[in-house]
């Protein structure tokens, strides 16, 4: 009952936040710029274009009417047209979103697979050389600017070793010879699903470096969180009891202790996931990864204001929904959080 209460409250809050976010985005789009019509049309607008935009956007109308028209457009799926690609922005977003999702998911996967075990071992062997090294890695991870790491990885793996490609999702030869059928839009999943192993290998090679660069911050975070909760948990009596009754150390660590340490870590990972959404912007630019981040950056460079505003809105909505999902998930796993 308490869980449902909490979930219901969270849902209401999320709806409130969604509406407010749309208002804020609207204000940024229409009220903040000194000349909203010109901003909408793009660089070097002509007088007719400005007039046309003024009527189209209803800028002569009172603000709340404008807001209603704005919301009406959004609900219909009309986010405006990109000044640069000349496509409806919604289409552009649908094209680029899976690429960003794939990248972020890959990064999180790497972070979990590397970060959590390292955190467990580090916490279990507190004070050892492994511990100090791991802590160094984790602090470097959260301090390292993603763009620097991306560049360094490119320099090392591409330039020096020639092992991994420089950027993009697929090499041109492979995309021409073994094109991937679109199922989810995520190349790794699609190529695996359709048995296209050549493309699968190629896509994996392409995603490795950017995902690694993206994963450094979450890895650092995961190590720190897992380590500190491990240290706390390992001091508990039931761990000592388990040791005395002869259970193998490895089982104790990775089964008993980890299960109890996992919740704050998942919390931190949730934060890391949403952080990655923004970190992906920079990584995409460096690796020429055709995702939303690249799209927004190009929009900034070409002063494509409608795109900037719309992508902000969409990504924020996404962000809110993911946070909501994580909160509910956490409430399901550990009802104690509902007590707040």
């Amino acid at each position: 009952m308490q869980r449902l209460d909490y979930i219901a409250k969270r849902l209401v809050m999320a709806i409130f936040v969604l509406i407010s976010v749309s208002i804020v985005t609207f204000i940024i789009a229409r009220v903040v710029p000194s000349n909203p019509a010109a901003a909408w049309v793009g660089p070097h607008p002509t007088k007719e274009q400005i007039e046309k935009a003024t009527i189209e956007l209803g800028l002569d109308q009172p603000l709340y009417t404008q807001y209603l028209r704005y919301m009406e457009g959004i609900v219909r799926g009309d986010l405006g047209t990109s000044v640069t690609t000349r496509q409806p922005i919604l289409t552009d977003i649908k094209t680029f979103l899976p690429a960003t999702l794939e990248l972020v998911l890959a990064g999180m996967l790497i972070a979990i697979v590397i970060g959590i075990p390292l955190g467990v071992l580090s916490g279990a062997n507190k004070g050892s050389l492994l511990d100090h090294l791991t802590r160094l890695v984790s602090i470097a991870g959260v301090s390292m600017p993603a763009f620097l790491l991306g560049l360094l990885l490119q320099m090392f793996f591409f330039r020096q070793l020639g092992l991994l490609p420089l950027g993009a999702r697929l090499s041109t030869e492979v995309s021409l010879a073994n094109p991937i059928e679109t199922v989810t839009g995520m190349y790794i999943i699609d190529s695996a699903l359709t048995g296209n192993w050549v493309a699968f290998q190629d896509a994996s090679k392409h995603i490795l470096l950017p995902a690694l660069a993206l994963a450094t911050y979450p890895i650092g975070l995961a190590i720190r969180m897992t380590r500190s909760t491990m240290i706390e948990v390992l001091n508990e009596k039931y761990i000592q009891a388990a040791r005395i009754s002869g259970i193998k150390e490895r089982t104790i660590l990775f089964v008993l202790a980890l299960k109890n340490a996992i919740v704050p870590t998942l919390n931190a990972l949730g934060l890391a996931f949403v952080y990655s959404l923004t970190g992906a912007i920079l990584i995409e630019v460096i690796f020429s990864w055709p995702g939303l981040g690249n799209y927004v950056t190009n929009a900034v460079l070409s002063v494509d204001f409608p795109v900037i505003v719309s992508v902000t809105l969409i990504m924020t909505v996404f962000y809110i929904l993911i946070n909501l999902f994580l909160d509910i998930l956490q409430a399901m796993i550990d009802p104690r959080v509902t007590l707040q």
């Binding site: 936040v17 407010s20 976010v21 940024i28 789009a29 901003a39 301090s143 763009f147 320099m155 924020t316």
Partner: protein, 308 residues
Amino acid sequence: MTTAISDLEVSIDEIPERKRISEYRLMWNAFRRDPLALLSIFILFVFILGAIFAPFLTPYPEQGLGDPNILEKFSPPSLQHPLGTDYLGRDVTARILYGGRSSLAIGFLVVFVAVIIGVPLGAISGFYGGWIDNLIMRITDIFLAFPPLLLAIALAAALGSNFINTMIAISFTWWPWYARLVRSQTLSLRERSFIEAARSIGVPDWKIITTHVLPNVMTPVMVQATMDLGSAILIGAAVSFIGLGVQPPTADWGTMISVGRIYFLERPWYAGSAGIAIFLVVLAFNLLGDAVRDAADPRTRRAVDIGR
């Protein structure tokens, strides 16, 4: 075995005087002994002084400010140009020193503004509760809902790209954290008896907040602010990297990486130096924040000599 009371008598004059040790003194003592903390302070000193005294530290101050030097463009590190030159021939060391002004300033200003706005709002929110609390918390919810970089980008795009606007845009995303932090601290503080005592003798609310509440919530704020300085610099660099921050020819570490990355594989010294500068500064702030937090928490503060 009884002891006569007279045997226990000690003259008042013989009891040694102990100075009252303030919390900050204890923190400072613990802090002093942490080698990582001292290392981070050293690193930050180097960069901050370098940024402030940039014109005197480099033989090429005009290049730092932007004058090109095409003849020497793209030279690798050498004796005259320890970090090489950039795509316009400007000395990279000078650019890094001058760039520090922009990048570091954004970090400090953003955190400063966020604290100035967030802390009082959080204190008011926690202290009064009721509809003020609700209102302020809803507003923080809204701002916290935006992915930080995106809101900064959207605001900077709408306002125009320069230093002040970037700073405003990023501060907008930052203050809610402080409001939340201070609010939860204030909530637990409010129940304490000294607050109740002060109210009952008629001390006005604003005085209670400024003299009792705020000093007690400052410690977690200090810890958070120190770590946030690093993140603020990182986000500032990210905004410049995308193209929305300070515009050329002003030097800025983020723009240096963005421009230099195209040449990075052949000529890494330009983007590389800027990237390493950012990394060192952020690392230093993170280590510092950790050290401040360890020093502030009496549980983790290692046993220290109560100084004489």
